[in-house]
């Protein structure tokens, strides 16, 4: 069976002490990565008054759903989840498509000015976003796009990060495949759609994860552009419930964070299955 996996056949051939050590190492890291998330879940199921209790119990004494109840009382969190999901889904579809098309173009097609255009695109990533927020707002106000989802979707389609990523990945596409397709008479877009896209599944899947994650976690843009609570995203609601005036409400934030993390995890689990060797799938015989 062809796959990168065979490179590490040596893994299987290792003696069992070495394998045990490897699994042990993996578990140590896993514990470090997992523990805070576990604490997040535990805290969400305990009352606020126990939040700061030291030492932190591994198995909590009494569980309660009151943090979740308060969360839904003080916000429209369910609505927020749906809104965030909608925004994330639309962004993923649009950004993955346009970025992969452009990235492939920069990687494998030749045209005049390619290097300059690519460098210019990279340069746009280098301005710290924060200083463009206010002028951005003014533009959107002029367009009448305040309090809509347009500012959160349209400008994001120009995703330099995504194009850069796709370009790097597409560099490893064998040019022979593309030439063969051209000789067969395929048009440029068809080559992309029928030949390239199946080959770059891992890159598409990972970009989908990144775009979903960044849209889902985006706080600044919804904050600045949205007014109507019906449009609020999950992150905005989390910020709203995080304080009652000056007094922090961490347990409620934990409850919200737990709920908010579920869709992202599901997307990750679903997408990471596609991390199988794709560029060999269409090997020329």
């Amino acid at each position: 069976m062809i796959g990168v996996n065979t490179a590490h056949r040596s893994l299987a051939a290792r003696s069992w002490p070495a394998r045990l050590l490897l699994y042990l190492g993996l578990c140590v890291f896993a514990a470090a990565f997992l523990a805070p998330f576990y604490w997040m879940i535990i805290s969400a199921l305990r009352p606020q008054s126990e939040f700061y209790q030291i030492p932190i119990p591994v198995i909590p004494s009494h569980l309660t759903l009151q943090d979740f109840v308060l969360l839904f009382q003080r916000s429209e969190f369910g609505r927020g989840l749906l809104n965030s999901a909608f925004l994330a889904f639309v962004s993923v579809v649009l950004q993955v498509f346009f970025s992969s098309l452009a990235g492939y173009t920069f990687a494998k097609l030749t045209f005049r000015g390619k290097d300059v255009l690519f460098t210019a695109m990279l340069a746009t990533m280098m301005i710290p976003y924060m200083v463009t927020i206010i002028p951005n707002y003014i533009i959107m106000a002029h367009l009448g796009w305040i309090d809509t989802y347009w500012p959160l979707i349209i400008p994001g389609i120009a995703n330099a990060f995504g194009i850069f990523w796709m370009r790097q990945y597409c560099q490893s596409i064998p040019s022979e495949l593309l030439d063969a397709a051209r000789i067969d008479g395929a048009g440029e877009f068809m080559i992309y759609w029928r030949v390239v896209v199946p080959l770059i599944q891992p890159a598409l899947a990972s970009l989908a994860i990144f775009v979903f994650l960044s849209t889902w976690n985006d706080f600044l843009n919804p904050l600045v552009f949205l007014r109507n609570q019906d449009l609020f995203t999950v992150q905005l609601w989390l910020a709203v419930v995080s304080h009652e005036g000056n007094v922090g409400q961490p347990a409620i934030v934990m409850a919200g964070s737990v709920l908010a993390s579920i869709p992202v995890l599901l997307i990750f689990i679903f997408m990471q299955k596609r991390f199988v060797a794709g560029l060999t799938a269409g090997s020329i015989k």
Partner: protein, 311 residues
Amino acid sequence: MALVARAGSITRSPRGAARWWAKVAPYVFISPFYLLFLAFGLLPILFSLGVSLFNWQGVAQAQFTGLSNYGVLLTDPDFLTALGNTVIVWLGSTVPMVFLALAFAAVLNAQRLRLRGFFRTVYFLPVVTSLVVTGLIFSVLFDPSIGLVNDALHAVGIAPINFLSDPNWMKPTLIMALLWRWTGNDMVIMLAGLQSIPGDIYEAATVDGATGRQAFWRITVPLMRPIILFDFIISTIGAFNLFEEPYVLFGGSAGNIGGTQNAGLVTGTLIYQNSFVFFNFGYGAAIAWVVAFIIFVLSMLQLKLGNKPVD
């Protein structure tokens, strides 16, 4: 074959039309980015460049000051501190993270590894864990009086360390937080990248008698170069824009975002502080542009170094 037939029926001179399209297609494919950028990205960038030439504080009137903001900047101890801190955090987090991510990805790519999907998901969890949790964990875990880390140190006879307030320890703690939080993300990049290496190469190598380690360093790493380069550049941009983690870890009050002696002040939080806390927009914009220039130079350097042809 059907493609040719369709193309032929559309135009009178299929070869000519196809050749024209082959020339124009690349520009069409990349145009969405540039069109959108011209519409939405360019003006704000030019605006911020303009603003940096003014003394503009909050809602009050702005006065043209030319390049004086930049002049003040270059001798401002806060800016120089932030810059130094950022470089340290950049190097200290990027280099280990890329290698750790690649190592994790290589191990978690092996087909015969049990619970592969489980480990991948768990390693990705910190990316999904809320930032509030991350801040809480680190402040409680590393506290000098009640933190577990200091309890462990105490057991070995080391005096308590104030990880989040001792200027000597703040940056290492931040680096640790970044490594914990983002390695899983980098791991995804590396995992995807590993799939682009055809298995035949490894087969050939094993036939030639190469060990796993040799295969890794002689085959995997060189072929992963475009991906590794991507990771370094993205991490560079990220480091100089870094805002959330330092803010959550050190920003006790709005007036003191950098922590003790500004040891935790980085360019990202400095820009935020000047723009959205002090409302000193002209100065904040000037800082942003200097930082943008630095990022650009560093990225171009990395591209030049990393873009040698892959054999």
